[in-house]
């Protein structure tokens, strides 16, 4: 190791500090514009719409909270809000329960094939979201794969429609959709736990099980929570899955938003529902973010 000569560097002068701040601002500017135009402005519009009034398809620009009052006074809305929340919670939860152990398995047991295995698990992401959901219709539908299989082994005599159009179907499909995302996040986190920590833990007398719970889990939990949150957000605002495989008992809030903006042509009410979804989601993420704190730094 060669000794490197160092010299004391004086703090930057006031002038150069101003310059560096200016340079940074210029550099960050395009990103700020991007966020403002594509994220901030649309949501502000959404908020504004939710505070306006629909009058037979035209919008009255007079401020009120009537839309929200209608929503929270409605039994249907409350049922849907609760259902949507529970469906999102369940599918993100199940997806995490499947994807995290799967990622652990791939990282720890697949050796040099782990990248290949990870890519294979992520392949569904290359296919259009609509196609992925539609695939479940093909599997679960009346003339679908599952029905013809059950018929061929003689378990049922005529095709059943029970598999499709239910809350369970929606949860199943959304779980399937969320798995690659949770996997990706878990995989990256587990990859970062160096092998020597497993070894050190074993060396200290910890069984693999205890090593997992006292070393691996605390170090990867924040990432898993992020993965879970992604799954939750994906499911919470979704309208494609419920409309394709949900039927009546699988309807979620997203479908209602679509309805209000589309057929019902009541943008203010739609915007109010959308805002409610957004607020609930953010609230939930705020709670969840408590579990993403980690002081540790993995080298």
């Amino acid at each position: 190791m060669a000794a490197v000569a160092t010299r004391v560097v004086e703090g930057p002068s006031f002038g150069s500090r101003v310059r560096s701040v200016a340079v940074r601002t210029v550099l960050v500017f395009p990103a700020l514009v991007w966020v403002a135009v594509l994220v901030l402005v649309p949501n502000i519009f959404l908020l504004l719409y939710s505070l306006w009034q629909n009058d037979l398809g035209t919008i009255l620009h007079h401020w009120n909270v009537e839309n929200y009052r209608t929503l929270f006074g409605s039994q249907v809305f409350q049922v849907l809000l609760r259902r949507t929340f529970l469906i999102a919670l369940a599918s993100a939860g199940i997806a995490t329960l499947i994807a995290y152990p799967l990622a652990f398995l791939v990282v720890r047991r697949f050796g040099r094939f782990k990248t290949t295995a990870a890519l294979l698990i992520l392949v569904p992401l290359w296919v259009s979201y609509l196609m992925r959901v539609f695939a479940w219709r093909i599997i679960l539908g009346e003339s679908g794969v599952l029905n013809s299989f059950l018929k061929s082994i003689g378990l049922i005599s005529k095709p059943s429609s029970a598999f499709l159009y239910s809350t369970t179907t929606v949860i199943m499909t959304l779980t399937y959709v969320a798995i690659p995302y949770v996997f990706l996040v878990s995989y990256t986190a587990l990859e970062r736990v160096p092998r020597h920590l497993y070894e050190a833990s074993g060396d200290c007398g910890a069984s693999p099980w205890r090593t997992f719970w006292s070393v691996v889990w605390p170090l990867t939990r924040p990432a898993v929570v992020v993965g879970f949150a992604i799954g939750f957000v994906l499911a919470f605002g979704d309208y494609v899955t419920p409309s394709l495989v949900g039927g009546l008992s699988g309807t979620m809030l997203g479908s209602i938003v679509l309805q209000q903006f589309g057929t019902a042509n009541d943008w203010p009410l739609g915007a109010a529902i959308a805002m409610t979804i957004l607020a609930t989601g953010l609230l939930f993420l705020a709670v969840v973010s408590f579990f993403t704190r980690l002081e540790a730094q993995i080298e």
């Binding site: 190791m1 160096p194 020597h196 920590l197 070894e199 050190a200 833990s201 074993g202 060396d203 200290c204 007398g205 910890a206 069984s207 205890r210 006292s214 070393v215 605390p218 170090l219 980690l294 002081e295 540790a296 730094q297 993995i298 080298e299």
Partner: protein, 391 residues
């Protein structure tokens, strides 16, 4: 096992009895009488993937209770693999690993009574210093009150009191090193394995940590098995050391014996500097190397062999006239190293290195050089160690 009191072996007699490794063997036998073996490797071979060269091949090794034992070798010599097999992180492809007499070959690391200090410390990044250190005791179900006492005790031992609530990333390299040491010592293992523990520290810190380690070992009396590529570390610390090359042990002996009587050309070149002369046997106790007539320390049976002469064994100037090997040499280069000068000489057709403490002849001038035959060692030819200029 003080180095000053180590048994004297007549090198000439030992060499005559068996040309190589004899001195080391004699001493190893003497040690096994008085010491209990705590680590034993029995013809261990490790091959990582099919068709690859073995990382360790047919290795036999015994480490005795309470000694400071080093595995020394360049990278890729199999020393770390050997340590990892003792710790249980790797399983030998062939052979047995025994700890304290019991066969542990198939036992996972967490069921072995050894502790490891890792090269990169391997502290748990999310645990405070005290939790890192307490971890081995918690895993063994030691009562909490006792854990706290022992954590304090061991942190005091490594001079880390006051850092209990820091996280690893808030510590310097040397501090992390000491926490890692504390964590490894707290369960009072039979054997402490140290894998290049000072590798990531800078020179000054390394020197002070060397002393810390040496003191610690003497105080706690635990067997230390120390893996390093740094020959000066190994020489300074060890009671015995094994020099490894390409998965085999080239020599196993005390530091003085390894230095003074290297068994092979590799050992001679890896431990310190040496001049290796390729000799052709002459009449009794003489040989020729590159046009020089050389007096040997003992008779050699083989026709061709290699002779090792340490630079510091070479005497310069008139004082060399009385020595058995005496030649005129031309100075090719003089390197000033501070405490001494290194001279590169041309002796006949040979290039040799010598050392001088004071001013010497300049480049191009002629000097008289010589060495007593007893200061040279016939070594087994196993190739030489060439340090790459980048290392």
């Amino acid at each position: 096992m003080n180095r000053e009191t180590e048994p004297m072996v007549d090198p000439a007699a030992a060499l005559a009895a068996s040309p190589f490794r004899a001195a080391a063997d004699v001493e190893a036998d003497a040690m096994s009488d008085t010491h209990q073996t705590v680590v034993e490797l029995v013809s261990v071979t490790k091959i990582y993937s099919d068709g690859a060269d073995p990382a360790v091949s047919d290795l036999d090794l015994s480490v005795y209770e309470g000694e400071f034992f080093s595995l020394l070798g360049p990278s890729g010599s199999g020393k770390t693999t050997t340590l990892r097999m003792i710790a249980g992180f790797e399983r030998p492809t062939v052979g047995r690993v025994k700890l304290g007499g019991g066969d542990v070959t198939a036992r996972p690391p967490y069921k072995r009574d050894v502790s490891t200090v890792f090269q990169n410390y391997a502290l748990f990044p999310h645990m405070k210093v005290k939790d890192n250190v307490a971890y081995p005791l918690k895993m063994r179900g030691v009562p909490r009150k006792q854990v706290r006492l022992r954590v304090n005790e061991v942190l005091e031992r490594v001079a880390m009191t006051g850092f209990e609530s820091r996280l690893p990333h808030q510590l310097s390299g040397g501090q992390r090193q000491r926490v890692a040491l504390a964590r490894a010592l707290i369960s009072r293992p039979k054997i402490l394995l140290l894998d290049e523990p000072l590798g990531a520290l800078d020179l000054k810190l390394r020197e002070s940590m060397l002393l810390v380690l040496k003191h610690l070992q003497r105080e706690v009396g635990i067997t230390f098995l120390y893996v390093t590529h740094d020959q000066s570390e190994a020489l300074a610390m060890s009671d015995r050391l094994a020099v490894m090359n390409q998965g085999r042990i080239e020599q196993l002996a005390t530091p003085t014996l390894v230095y003074d009587k290297p068994a092979t050309s590799f050992v001679a070149g890896f431990i310190g500097k040496t001049n290796l002369l390729e000799c052709v046997r002459g009449s009794a106790r003489t040989a020729r190397a590159g046009g020089l007539g050389i007096q040997l320390p003992a008779d050699v049976a083989r026709e061709r062999f290699t002779l090792s002469v340490r630079p510091e064994a070479i005497t310069l100037g008139e004082a060399s006239r009385s020595l058995e090997n005496h030649y005129a040499a031309t100075v090719v280069e003089v390197l000033f190293l501070g405490h001494e000068r290194e001279l590169i000489l041309e002796v006949g057709a040979q290039r040799m290195t010598a050392r001088a403490t004071g001013p010497t002849a300049g480049v191009g001038e002629t000097v008289e050089i010589g060495w007593p035959s007893a200061a040279s060692v016939v070594v087994e030819e196993t190739g030489t160690w060439q340090q790459s200029p980048l290392e």
